[in-house]
């Protein structure tokens, strides 16, 4: 079974973003970028499926600027067999990404597509569900456990209030939650070897999407800062302030 894994290049999760002075967007110039943490979990799960003999080939896909090839090289170093890069310098909506992925699904015919549950930049949490809709596949979102059996994948999902297990007919779309696995690190020899693995790069214009931009970004602001608070010296003082100053007890 072939597994298609989505990978997004995003700001490193430790970096505090800055809003541009003209409020047009956040400023990402000279910012450290990395693979979206949920995508790392998706790649790791694909690797484990291959190690268990469930997956035969892993194809990593990224849609984004030329620099997104760095993240594809990381996926290749970790063990993906080949990569597809769809180059687009513009900001894309989740639906546009899902449309491109749907085309690649039609072309590659994977048994499973694994994506992260959300990207830590847009915080949308939409692409996997949209891809499932466009391809008519079942969806197993926020997965914390996967088990592929005959023609089916059992997915345990993290839901409000606990865990819920579904069985999906293959092919299916899975989105990863944090506790699905602990991603491994790429080893130096594998990073060197990954340089020889193929990346098929194409322009997004070859996908013939409708006019881009479903949503218009009008303005980006910094959220209102909280008033700096004070430190209290004792439990007595804390309880007194909560009762009489903040009046929340």
């Amino acid at each position: 079974m072939k597994v298609l894994v989505g990978v997004k290049r995003v700001i490193d999760y430790n970096v505090q973003v800055r809003v541009r002075p003209d409020h047009s967007d956040v400023d990402l110039t000279n910012t450290k970028m990395a693979m979206n943490p949920f995508c790392e979990i998706a790649v790791e799960e694909a690797l484990r499926l291959k190690e268990r003999g469930v997956a035969s080939e892993i194809v990593a896909v990224s849609i984004g600027p030329k620099a997104a090839q760095e993240q594809l090289r990381t996926a290749l170093a970790l063990g993906a067999d080949r990569a597809i890069h769809v180059e687009s310098e513009n900001r894309l909506d989740s639906l546009e990404v899902a449309q491109v992925l749907a085309r690649l699904v039609a072309e590659e015919q994977p048994g499973l597509v694994i994506l992260g549950k959300q990207a830590i930049d847009s915080d949308n949490n939409q692409t996997g569900q949209m891809l499932a809709a466009l391809t008519g596949m079942g969806q197993g979102t926020f997965a914390s456990r996967l088990e592929v059996t005959d023609g089916e994948v059992r997915v345990t999902r993290e839901v409000d209030g606990g865990l819920r297990t579904l069985a999906l007919r293959l092919p299916a779309v899975i989105t990863t939650d944090l506790r699905l696995n602990e991603p491994r690190h790429a080893r130096l020899p594998d990073i060197m070897k990954a340089k020889k693995k193929p990346i098929d790069s194409r322009g997004i214009d070859t996908f013939g999407l409708a006019a881009s931009g479903y949503l218009r970004l009008e303005r980006v602001e910094t959220p209102a800062a909280r008033q700096g608070g004070s430190k209290v010296a004792s439990v007595d003082e804390l309880v007194d302030k909560l009762k009489h100053e903040a009046k929340v007890l």
């Binding site: 915080d123 949490n125 993290e158 007919r169 909280r226 004070s230 909560l242």
Partner: protein, 308 residues
């Protein structure tokens, strides 16, 4: 404008989040219908009909909707969407699962986790773990939106909407429900509790979370946790507060042994009053805390419980 809200339900009861989504719908304006889909949902429909501002409750009672699976719910919403300009749901695991599927089937965008209604087509939403607020405008004929429930006050009860059945031929060959494990708790639900007390890695072990129980009981508070505490296996993941867990905005949030990483702050920094208890006086949590207490939580927590 005509708005359809997908009702949120748990264990045959209307979930608290729906009343907050109705408030967001009222800010948009227009007729508001609520869709209750499930199996044996009379009580949910009655509760939804009582929410202020709701004009009609549409009920799809069928085994195919029994477990709120995304595939049949999205198909049902597609069948109903022609009557509406907006479809809304809470930004819960159900809303986040179903609405993007509807949006793609209708070839429109989905707007996630709105904090504010600027106009009927313009909304504010957080990006980058809440470190920036984006204003986005949709020119789609149908706006598909999930609502951050903590950003809108719940509407009151007192309405008496009409309840009407809907019929739609919906099948679901691609997924089926296998089972669930729900965490049992007598405490208020984390997302809607007025007071939340959370523990982090500084708690040291799962057993030490018992130190929070007595305080939570006295305050009627829910107990939460940071991702570090969940990843360390101290507590189950449905207690996690943060960008990747639950977003809370209670009147009082007490963070115990939590350093205050970006991902945690994203889940609680809109709380009205924040208290931090931490032995490291340089912990970033103190920058957002209204009241900070530096010290050993193993001494402070029993003392705090005694004083309440």
């Amino acid at each position: 404008m005509s708005i359809l809200i997908l009702a949120e339900q748990h264990d045959g009861e209307l979930a608290a989040g729906t009343a907050h989504v109705v408030a967001a719908a009222r800010a948009i304006g227009g007729d508001i219908d609520v869709l209750v889909a499930g199996e044996g949902v009379d009580a949910v429909a009655q509760a939804a009909a009582g929410l202020d501002g709701v004009s009609r409750v549409r009920v799809a009672d069928d085994a195919v909707y029994a477990h709120q699976l995304a595939e049949p719910l999205a198909e049902l919403l597609v069948a109903l969407a022609d009557d509406y300009t907006h479809v809304l749901a809470a930004s819960s695991t159900t809303g986040k699962n179903v609405l993007p599927r509807l949006a793609a089937l209708r070839d429109v965008a989905q707007i996630s986790d709105i904090l504010e209604v600027v106009g009927a087509d313009t909304f504010k939403r957080p990006i980058y773990a809440g470190n920036a607020i984006a204003t986005v405008r949709s020119s789609d004929p149908l706006k598909v939106i999930t609502v951050r429930t903590t950003a809108f006050d719940a509407v009151a009860d007192g309405g008496s909407a009409a309840i009407e059945p809907v019929s739609a031929e919906v099948s679901n060959p691609s997924s089926r429900f296998v089972g669930e494990e729900l965490a049992q708790s007598d405490r208020p639900e984390l997302g809607s509790a007025k007071i939340v007390i959370s523990g982090g890695r500084g708690m040291g072990s799962g057993d030490n979370f018992k130190l929070l129980d007595g305080i939570a009981d006295k305050l009627g508070a829910a107990i939460g946790a940071s991702r570090a505490a969940v990843d360390a296996g101290f507590v189950p993941n449905d207690m996690q507060v943060g960008q990747t867990g639950k977003i809370v905005a209670p009147e009082l949030y007490i963070a115990v042994g939590i350093s205050g990483a970006i991902q945690h702050l994203a889940g609680m920094k809109d709380s009205k009053v924040i208290v931090a208890i931490n032995k490291d006086e340089d912990a970033p949590i103190f920058q957002v805390a209204d009241y900070g207490l530096v010290g050993d939580l193993f001494e402070i927590l029993p003392a705090l419980e005694q004083k309440l």
